[in-house]
Assembly symmetry: none
C-alpha cells in the first residue's frame, strides 16, 4: 500500500510517525463512514493522539449515543453471567399482592449495604423490583381505564339529561307558538282541560 511494505510495529521516526498518523487516521475515518453507509449500521471511532488530542467519527449525530449504547450493552453482558446461575429462585417472587410487594421493596431499601450484596441477592432483588414494577404498571393502567369508563358513563348520562331538558324546552316553545297562532285568529280559548296540562308540566 505504498512504495514499500511496512512492518506493523511502532514507527520510531517521529515525523514519519506523525505523517502516517495523519494519513491513516483519515483513512480509518473514511472507511468507518463508508461502512456505516454501505451496510446501514452504527459506527463510532475514537482516536487519542499520543499528545492526548481527540479525533472522532460517529455515524450518528453524537458519539455519546453510541458510547451510551455500548455501556448499556456491557452492563447487560454482566447481567447475563449473573442470570445463568439462577433460574429457580426467580420464579417464587412471581405473584405477590400489592401490599406484599411494597413491603418487600421497603425492606430491601432499608438495607444499608446494598453495595455488598451477592450476585444471587441482586438477581433476587431485581426480580422483586420487576414484579413491583409490573404490578404498579398494571394498577396504573387499570386506574386509567377505569377513569375513562367512568367518564364515558358520566358523558352518556349528561347527554341524556341534556336531551330531556332540550325536549322539554322544545315542547314548551311549541305550545307558545300555538298559542300565538290562536291569539292571532282571535279564537276564544277553552279553559277546560288546562289543569291537567299544567300538572304534567309541574312534573317535569
Amino acid at each position: 500500500m505504498g512504495r514499500k511494505k511496512v512492518e506493523i510495529k511502532r514507527i520510531e521516526d517521529r515525523s514519519s510517525r506523525h505523517a502516517t498518523f495523519s494519513k491513516r487516521r483519515n483513512g480509518l475515518m473514511k472507511k468507518a463512514k463508508q461502512l456505516s453507509i454501505l451496510c446501514d449500521v452504527d459506527v463510532a471511532v475514537i482516536v487519542f493522539s499520543s499528545r492526548g488530542r481527540l479525533f472522532e467519527f460517529s455515524s450518528t449525530n453524537s458519539l455519546t449515543g453510541i458510547t451510551q449504547r455500548y455501556h448499556r450493552n456491557v452492563k447487560a453482558e454482566d447481567k447475563v453471567s449473573a442470570e445463568v446461575n439462577d433460574t429457580e429462585e426467580s420464579k417464587y417472587a412471581s405473584f405477590m399482592t400489592m401490599e406484599e410487594v411494597l413491603q418487600t421493596v421497603e425492606k430491601q431499601l432499608e438495607e444499608p449495604d446494598v453495595d455488598d450484596l451477592s450476585i444471587t441477592d441482586l438477581v433476587h432483588l431485581e426480580n422483586q423490583f420487576e414484579t413491583a414494577l409490573t404490578q404498579t404498571r398494571f394498577r396504573k393502567t387499570h386506574l386509567l381505564i377505569e377513569s375513562i369508563k367512568n367518564l364515558h358513563d358520566k358523558e352518556k348520562l349528561l347527554i341524556e339529561e341534556n336531551k330531556v331538558l332540550d325536549d322539554e324546552i322544545g315542547s314548551i316553545k311549541k305550545k307558545e307558538a300555538n298559542e300565538m297562532a290562536v291569539d292571532l285568529n282571535n279564537i276564544a280559548p277553552t279553559p277546560m282541560d288546562c289543569g291537567q296540562q299544567r300538572e304534567t308540566l309541574y312534573f317535569l
Copy 2:
C-alpha cells in the same frame, strides 16, 4: 477495491450487504489496530450491526477506559462552548420516534435465524425490545391521559349546557307560576298552555 467501483450508499441487497459488512468490518478493525500500533496511539472502534450485535476494537484493555476518557473530553469541551444549547437536544437524541421504534422492531423480526443467536446477541435483542416496550408504554400512557383530559373537557361542557337548559326551564316555570296566580285572581283562565288541547280540537 474490487471488480467494480461501488457507489457509497446503502447496499439494498440483503446478502451482499451482510457480506460487505463482514469484510469491511474486519478491514476497519485491522486498520484501527495497525494505526494504534504504528503510531502508538489509543484507538477505539464500536460497531453495532443492524441487528444490534456489538463489534468492538480497542487498543487498550477495555473500551470503557477510552469511552470514559472521551466523555471527560466532551464534557470539558461542552463547558467551554455552549451551556444552554445542549440540554434539550440530548434528551430527544436518546428517544426514538414511534416510527423509528416500529422500524427497528420490524427489522429485527425480518431476520430469519433468530433461533441460533448467541446469549450476547439475545441480550442485545432484549435491549432493543425493551426500548421499544418503553416507548410503547410511554405512548399508551400518554394517549390514556389525553383521553381522560378530553373527557373531562367534554364533561365540563355538558354540565354547563345542562345548567343553561335548566335555568331556561326554571325561568319558564316561574313565568307560568306567575301567570297562574294572575289567572286565579281573575278567575279567568289564560289560554296559553292549552295549545295541545286546541290542536286536537282543530282536528275534530
